[in-house]
Amino acid sequence: MTISVQSSILQSAQRAFAFGSPILELDSISLRFGGVQALTNISFNVLEHEIRAIIGPNGAGKSSMLNVINGIYVPQEGSITFRGERLSEMAPTHAARLGIARTFQNIALFRGMSVLDNIMAGRNLHMHASFVEVALQLPRARREEAENRAAVEEIIEFLEIEHIRKTPVARLPYGLQKRVELGRALAAEPTILLLDEPMAGMNIEEKQDMCRFILDVNDHYGTTIVLIEHDMGVVMDISDRVVVLDYGKKIGDGTPDEVRSDQNVIDAYLGVPH
């Protein structure tokens, strides 16, 4: 089930962007839905420019974790520190302004709009012209439109989706839709990119493409990436460090090799004889 990714980036010790200080720190996070304990006392950090994976079996709390970082869920206990600044309640809009962008497990694109327009929507925060200015096509609106379009075209080239630029998203195969979603997240020029199961439901070829793009994003833009995935092979190939969750608890944290040989992790994935 493992797929090999030819990553010259991983093999070479030289990284374009060396790991920086922790950009995001989660401290003793606990999240409950009524009586259901989704996350229990979870702490870990994310270094600047690293690819950090959160893995775990179904229902382990991976998506909840991502939603906490993104500000969709507010944890009952614990704190999130972003670039040394403590954030008590982080709303999604606030997260976006701070430079946190995400993709969704179930693709959340505007299905009737073209690829170009979808990615353009990701430039939302970079548009300042008022409604009237845009409606009347005043100079600022036109200049902004051109600048944003140029940024979007760069992403289109980066993700090699020139040929579907004007195709409505609904007509694209699943793998390409995922790539468009990644494009929209990149359009926000994020500092941290949260990817919720970017490889789910893909065939091997699509997975390899996606892996390459994730590595390229990290290498080219220096974007810090936090990704959730349950395909172990993929995760081990592309991540720098991995957090393992099981039943809402952290059971492992370290480099892929450390995690792979961790007895707790093996038990969680393969089961333990009772």
Binding site: S8, I9, S12, Q14, A16, R149, A150, E153, E154, I156, E157, F158, E160, E162, H163, R165, D216, D219, H220
Partner: protein, 647 residues
């Protein structure tokens, strides 16, 4: 410029000429990041000069070989001219060639400097670098992913150009002198032609021979500097080189580089080229797309399309034959042009095409007539790398679909008793690189080049090509047999991508069929046949029945021609993987390599002739060596008119 033309005997001189004469006109357009960006002749000349200045600093000398590895990009063309500016010889390689193929060309030409498009190409070059000690410098264009590469041989195009721009001013005199030192008799290019037989040969062509052929062809096509052509075929192929580099240099027209091969059709529609070169394979793909989409159209549209095409074919055939067309037909034809053919030409991006050529391989007359019926002036062109590409072409008003037209000015033709075509022309190549023995075999003492093609000149002065000499054969009963004709008929059908016919020295004709996956899978979807991929679909009985029907149609056509009735396809096999150049069974331009195929699929072919209905077959060479069961089926054979009469 009456006397000037004599001096313009090399490409750098031509480039400087255009820079002076039409400096602000577009030379190359490139779609990049969604926008068409223009390089004018003046900018192109300045870029080439700057590159030449920087390259000479890095030790590029007259007579050195410079390889190019990448897609059609303005920078690639500038690099070509910069190398020739210094008297170096350019070796354009196929950008999708595997590392080994590249290594053998680079090694044989002793290439010292390579221009590579991107990381993918650089990776291939670094892999073969230990085997190619002559390569001292690799210049790469796109820097994406390149920052991890620290090899001393690597330098980016941008930094080379920047360095060159600083040098260009102080080296002005040197550059002028270098350009002036070049003469038409210098070698300009070495093209490695894969050839359908044997390993690649390096064909050396001079500035003079290419410029001469391009001039003659340009005057025949009445090309002007306002013409526009698309640069989308592999630059390693001489056809692309002539239409994308040599002829623009001679005439001063503009070429357009599409964003990527996937966007070619949309980009072509935006630019509306007036001059168009295509290989039969490209045209097949286009025609198949049209017929597939028409099959999915509504009843009225389909009816209109069929009717209009039928009228257009009838009118077209009568016009070509020089017969009068009835007024009724003429009116219907005009109406259909407004209603159907015009819009269809527009969809294909061909509404402005004045002259279109097909070259590189024989084209099926039906395919040629399909495009002519659409109102596109598509003509066949015959030539090879060795003959400077332009040997014979169909003329306006004298297009006979089964010929390649009459010889072009300056070309002399002669046939051997075995019907091999011999060519003498100013466009002939100088030699095979580093292989004087082979050169001597190909060009005889009187200067005739032995093309290896079988053909004959008809009483109408038009040249007809049969096949490669090596492939023309006979069935066991002595009936002449030329496989390509059969294969082209098969390939015209939407569900067949490639076909390989066997029959030389045998008692009947059998064929290997490679299905067109796009069309067949759509057909399967409509029939609600579920399948697991190419191999599975190809082995389905339903698909065998579909292909059997296709072959029966071709057999019916063959039966109607007495000379071909014996060549009907009796048995066939559907291959479970695609024939591809990466496996070495096709050349990079998509021609069959029969020897390789016969060897690789020997077990299948033998089984067909042994009368078996299935065979366990193991594809040799590939990684997926797992043996699979392959079915063999009979095709319906039609009794020919002659045999029926005899019975």
């Amino acid at each position: 410029m009456t006397t000037g033309n004599l001096d313009l005997d090399t490409f750098p001189k031509l480039l400087m000429h255009h820079s002076r004469e039409r400096g602000e006109r577009p030379a190359i357009r490139e779609k990049s990041r969604g926008i068409w960006r223009t390089v004018t002749w003046r900018e192109l000349a300045e870029e080439a000069a700057a590159l030449a200045a920087a390259a000479s600093e890095r030790g590029m000398q007259r007579g050195a070989h410079v390889a190019l590895l990448g897609d059609n990009r303005p920078r690639l063309y500038a690099a070509m001219c910069a190398a020739q500016w210094l008297g170096a010889i350019v070796v354009p390689l196929y950008q999708d060639a595997a590392a080994d193929e590249i290594a053998s060309s680079i090694d044989s030409a002793k290439v010292t400097l390579v221009f590579a498009e991107n990381q993918e190409q650089v990776d291939k070059l670094l892999e073969i670098l230990p085997r190619c000690p002559t390569v001292r410098c690799i210049v790469y264009d796109k820097d994406r992913g390149m920052r991890h590469y620290k090899q001393p041989e690597l330098v980016s195009y941008a930094s080379l150009l920047q360095h060159g721009r600083q040098l260009a001013a102080e080296k002005r005199d040197f550059l002028q002198a270098e350009a002036a030192r070049g003469s038409g008799q210098d070698s300009a290019f070495v093209f490695y032609t894969s050839g359908t037989t044997g390993p690649a040969k390096g064909v050396v062509l001079t500035h003079a021979s290419l410029i001469d052929r391009a001039r003659v062809a340009a005057s025949m096509g009445e090309l002007k500097d306002t013409d526009v052509a698309m640069a989308y075929l592999p630059p390693g192929w001489i056809g692309q080189n002539l239409f994308g580099y040599v002829q623009p240099m001679v005439v001063g027209y503009c070429i357009c580089c599409p964003e990527s091969s996937d966007t070619m059709l949309a980009d072509m529609r935006e630019m509306g080229p007036t001059y168009f070169l295509a290989t039969p394979r490209v045209l097949e793909t286009l025609a198949k797309q049209v017929s597939l989409r028409m099959e999915e159209a509504g009843g009225f549209n389909q009816g209109l399309y069929r009717y209009c095409m039928a009228v257009a074919r009838r009118v077209g055939a009568r016009t070509l034959a020089g017969e009068t067309v009835s007024i009724g037909d003429r009116l219907v034809s005009m109406a259909s042009d407004l209603l159907m053919r015009g819009p269809l030409r527009d969809v294909l991006g061909m509404s402005k095409v004045r002259v279109a050529y097909t070259a590189g391989d024989a084209i099926n007359p039906d395919l040629l007539m399909f495009f002519r019926a659409l109102g596109i002036n598509l003509k066949q062109l015959y030539g090879s790398t060795e003959t400077g590409f332009f040997v014979a072409m169909q003329r306006d008003g004298a297009v006979k679909p089964d010929t390649v037209g009459s010889p072009i000015d300056g070309v002399e033709l002669k046939m051997t008793p075995q019907r091999e075509i011999l060519v003498r022309s100013p466009g002939l190549f100088r030699e095979y690189h580093g292989d004087s023995e082979r050169t001597a075999r190909a060009i005889d003492a009187e200067g005739w080049f032995h093309t290896g093609d079988a053909g004959y000149l008809g009483p109408d002065g038009q040249l007809r090509i049969l096949d490669r000499m090596a492939h023309v054969g006979a069935l066991k009963d002595g009936t002449p047999y030329a496989p390509r004709l059969l294969e082209n008929k098969l390939k015209f059908l939407p569900y067949i991508r490639e076909a390989v016919a066997f029959g030389d020295g045998r008692d009947m004709v059998c064929a290997l069929i490679d299905i067109e996956m796009a069309a067949t899978s759509r057909w399967a979807d409509k029939q609600s046949i579920s399948y697991m991929g190419h191999a599975d679909l190809a082995s389905r009985d339903e698909v065998y029945a579909l292909i059997a029907d296709c072959i029966a149609k071709v057999n019916a056509q063959l039966a109607s021609e007495p000379a071909l009735a014996q060549s009907q396809i009796q048995r066939f096999v559907i291959l479970n993987n695609e024939l591809s150049a990466d496996d070495g069974v096709l050349t990079r331009t998509g021609k069959l390599r029969r020897d390789v195929i016969a060897e690789r699929y020997r077990a299948l072919v033998d089984a067909m002739y042994d009368g078996r209905t299935d065979v366990r077959f193991e594809a040799g060479g590939g990684e997926e060596a797992a043996p699979t069961d392959v079915k063999i089926r009979d095709a319906k054979v039609v009794a020919s008119a002659q045999t029926r009469r005899a019975a």
